[in-house]
Each structure stands twice: as C-alpha cells, then as structure tokens.
Subunit: 299 residues, 2 copies
C-alpha cells in the first residue's frame, strides 16, 4: 500500500505546495482523497498516470479541495478513460458535480457514478478493503475518511509442510477459514493459518475538534491530519474557522492510538518555520512528521 502526497498547502497554494490531494495505491485501486487545483499536473510531475484513478473521495466542497476536478475529468476524457469513475463526497456532492461540469465547455465526457454520504461509518466494502466516513466540523459539510485493508488469512507454511499438505484445493479451503480432512485427519484452519491484520489509514483534511475525530482515526497505522495553526498562538482562530491546531491533531492521534501522524494543510504564516508546528505536535505525540508535496509512504 502506497500513499503519495500530491498537495499539502492550506487554502492558497505556494510556490512549494499545491492544494490538497493525497493518492492511495492499493491492490490495483488508485484512490484520490480530495483534488485541489492542479492535481492533474502533480500526477504528471510525480510520473503517475491519472487514468489509473479508480475512485475520488471528496472531504468537502471548498475550492482548495476540489478545483482540480474539472480539469482532471477533462484530461481523463481526452485520454479515453474507459472505466466508470466513482466519486464520493458529503451531502451536496451531486449538485456540485453538476455545477462544476457546467462551468466551462467540456470536451468529450467520461462515465461517472456519484455517491453522497450522509451517515457515519463504513459505506464501501470490497473484497480487499473497507472505507468509512465520519462527519467533521468545518465551515461546509465535511467528511473524514478511513481506509481499512480487510484482514487476510495467510497459510502457515511450516505447519502445512509438516502435515504433508501440498498446494491444491485443500489449501484454498483452509484460507477461507474452513477445517479440512487430509489422510483421515482433520487439519484445523486455526492451526494451519494465521490472520494478518489489515492496515488502516485515516484522512482528516479539514476540521475542528469534534467527537468523530478519534473514531475515524482509531488504531490507524497512519493518520493524515490537517494542523493549520499553533495551539499556543491561534487556538481561538482554529475553532472559529473550523481547523485544528498541531496540539489538537497530536492529541487525537494519541487518544486514537495511531502508529504515525502526518501533519498537512499548515497555515502559510508558518511557511518559513514549519518546524514549530512539528515541535508542538511532538510534545503530545512523538511519531509525528510534516507532509510535503510528492512525499511517499509505503505501508
């Protein structure tokens, strides 16, 4: 599983940072979380192919999180994107999708399937992963997402060898968790296999503190969280504008027992000294890191 940061700025971009977008690559799926202006060109710079995107998950419809969508869709159309692009977002997403495509003269078109999510919890389950959404507290209807790999039952090779079992349908049965009969003996799935727990990544890209923050991040291997302000300077501003301070993001990471925290969407007032954000977070949650454009994490 790979996570690639394609945009890590706050509301306005800088020379170094594009607006919000994070790509998750997992088992043939490429899932884009938010799509700030110029995301399509970030793909090109990162030598990634936007035609491989399978799903786009929008946290909310503020410009800095979605203005890359129309250009990306047009580029997919011009490149004969042949899949059905699945787009998810909070209430209002269908309306905005219609508006965004009416804003200019669209050349060609692609097939899209737009889903509005209005409940907390899992909304998408496939054979290999589950995605859940939780409502956040921002100046627009806003979601945070968690992506969870499904647990996988792996064959215990040493045990199987000892029993004399060879590759074949019986191993398939065991992998499904079923006990099997071999040479008049019952081989138990519980002994012949072991569960590898799926990894979890949570995306909290714009919010102020709310009761769902810990829920969406619970036990994640990686929490990607906004950290717009410093607690010691602008705790009031964070609350007023629907954002987190570095300390708040770190406190959520700690309470949720996540393994690693990556901070993004940091206010430009700290552009020359981003480290102050990291330092504040580290006081509460040690395994914190600052996001930057094109950073890649392999889980």
């Amino acid at each position: 599983m790979e996570v690639i940061f394609l945009g890590t700025s706050e509301a306005t971009p800088t020379a170094e940072k594009n607006q919000s977008a994070v790509l998750l690559i997992h088992n043939g799926e490429q899932i884009l979380f938010d799509c700030g202006e110029n995301t399509q060109r970030q793909f090109k710079i990162a030598k990634l192919n936007p035609c491989k995107i399978t799903r786009i998950l929008i946290t909310h419809w503020h410009g800095d999180h979605i203005l890359g969508l129309p250009g990306l869709l047009q580029t997919l159309a011009l490149n004969n994107y042949s899949k059905t692009l699945k787009i998810y977002g909070p209430k209002g997403t269908k309306n905005f999708m219609g508006k965004i495509l009416g804003m200019f003269m669209f050349v060609e078109s692609i097939k899209t399937e737009v889903h509005e999510i209005d409940e907390n919890g899992p909304f998408l389950e496939t054979e290999t992963f589950t995605i859940a959404a939780y409502k956040m507290k921002h100046m627009a209807p806003c979601l945070a997402y968690s992506f969870v790999e499904n647990d996988k039952r792996k064959i215990n090779l040493a045990y199987i060898k000892k029993q004399g079992l060879k590759p074949g349908p019986l191993l398939g049965e065991l992998q499904l968790g079923k006990d099997v009969r071999f040479k008049n003996k019952i081989i138990k799935a519980k002994q012949a296999t072991q569960i590898r727990k799926g990894k979890k990544i949570s995306f909290m890209l714009d919010t102020s503190v709310n009761e769902n923050c810990v829920k969406v991040a619970k036990d994640a291997n990686l929490l990607i969280s906004e950290a717009t302000f410093l607690e010691k300077e602008h705790a009031d501003k964070a609350k007023e504008r629907g954002h987190l301070t570095a300390k708040q993001a770190a406190t959520i990471a700690k309470k949720a027992k996540v393994k690693k925290l990556i901070l993004t969407h940091i206010s430009q007032r700290y552009a020359k000294n981003n480290q102050v954000i990291l330092q504040e977070a580290k006081k509460t949650f040690k395994n914190s890191e600052l996001a930057k454009d094109f950073m890649k994490i392999i889980l």
Copy 2:
C-alpha cells in the same frame, strides 16, 4: 511593457508546461490573457502578485484556458482584493462567469465587471492603450486580442533648447500637438515634437486559419500564436480541430508583417522534439521563437 508566459501547454498540462496564461504588464496595468488551471500558483512561482491583476481577457471557455479562474478569484478574495476586476470574453462569458461566481465560497466578495465582446475591432480605449478583439475559428466562440499602446508625442529636446523654451505649460501644449506662441514667434508642434509609435502585441491562443488572423496581428511588434501541429504531418487535423500548424502561424506572421512571432500551445506529440515546430515556422518566418513557461519579453 513586459510579457510573461505563465502557461504554454496545449489542452493537457505536462510536468514542464502549465495550461494557457500570458501576463502583460504595462504602465500600472497587469492584464492576464487566459487563465488555465493553476495560473495562481504560476504567479507565486514567478514571484508575481496576483492582486495586481487589473483585467482578465478570456479567448474562449474551453477548460484549459479558464479553469484557473475560480481558484484565482478565491485567492484574490482571501487576500482582500479591493479593485473591481474587469473580465472580458466572447459571447457566453456572462453566463459562465455567473456559474463560477455562484459556486464557491468567498468568491462573491470581490467586485467584478464582466464584458461580452461580440464585435470585431477595438472595444477598450484608455489614455495609454487600446485593445481590440477579432473572432477566431475554433470549436467554441473564440477571440484573438491585440493590445496597442497609444502613440505618444515626445518633446524634441534639442529643438526646444535651441528656441529657449523651458519646462512649463507651453511644453504641455506642444505635447498635445498644439502650436504655441513664444517670444512673438510661433513654435510648431510638428517641429518641436515627434510621435513615438505605440507598440502592439497580438494574442492568438486557439484558432484555425481565418480571415481575421492577419487583421488582429497586422504590424504587431509581437505575435503570440498557437502552433499545435506540423503542417507536413497534420494539416487536416489542425483544420478539423480548430488549430494552426507552425507553417500557418508563420504565414500569418509574414502576411501581417509582424516583427517577432512566439509559438505556444504545441501538441504534446512534439514534446521531445519541439524544435521541429520551430524549424517549420522559421522556413516561412525567420524571427520565430518557442514559448516556454516563465519566459519574459520586454518590449
């Protein structure tokens, strides 16, 4: 007068080239011709301040020429842009602008004045310049623009000194082209001043060959023209999709007697060998050059 290329790609951007946008800086005005996705960040990278933009001229409403508008407007609003932003474009511009302004938060807080241009010829005359539009032939209503500095009457200092005239109201009269009486002698404006011809820049950013091409470029000091294809390879495709070949752009430059031609919006099929476009153009019009992002020309 300065011209800065902020985006020089064709319909889809590349790692090296942003989508169409050219900034003209003249005497306190900053006029943006087209506004492809990510233009606001190109300003930041070029260390320019987008709040200094006074006017935006749109050639047509295809995505690659306008999708930077909503994000730019949002950034201007967030930075307390206090002027009235004047926006010009072909028929349909008011409708598209309404859609953009109705869609995003913050954007409504800046003052805009939207003009639709449906006639060939000058549509804007100020004390220092005139802008004309000519209808082009493309797959959408599309304009080309020419920006012309007004001619300026400059005092002939040597002649004035000889006559004994000193700085004062009489010089002002002469500069307006009026003859004056000094020491019982008539001093003729024709002798005491000389006309410095205003420079002209033409922007032809998407079109196939049509009768207005030479008109808009006539006698320009600089013609910025699209040159999507090679004549020897894709003359048919150019016509079919509403584009120019390098040879056609050069032929227009030659017929219009322009001084310099800059080629932009070149198809990605020539990305590894842009020089073939330049070579084809140079056979017909020697003073040709290829545009690239952040190229600056001082006239």
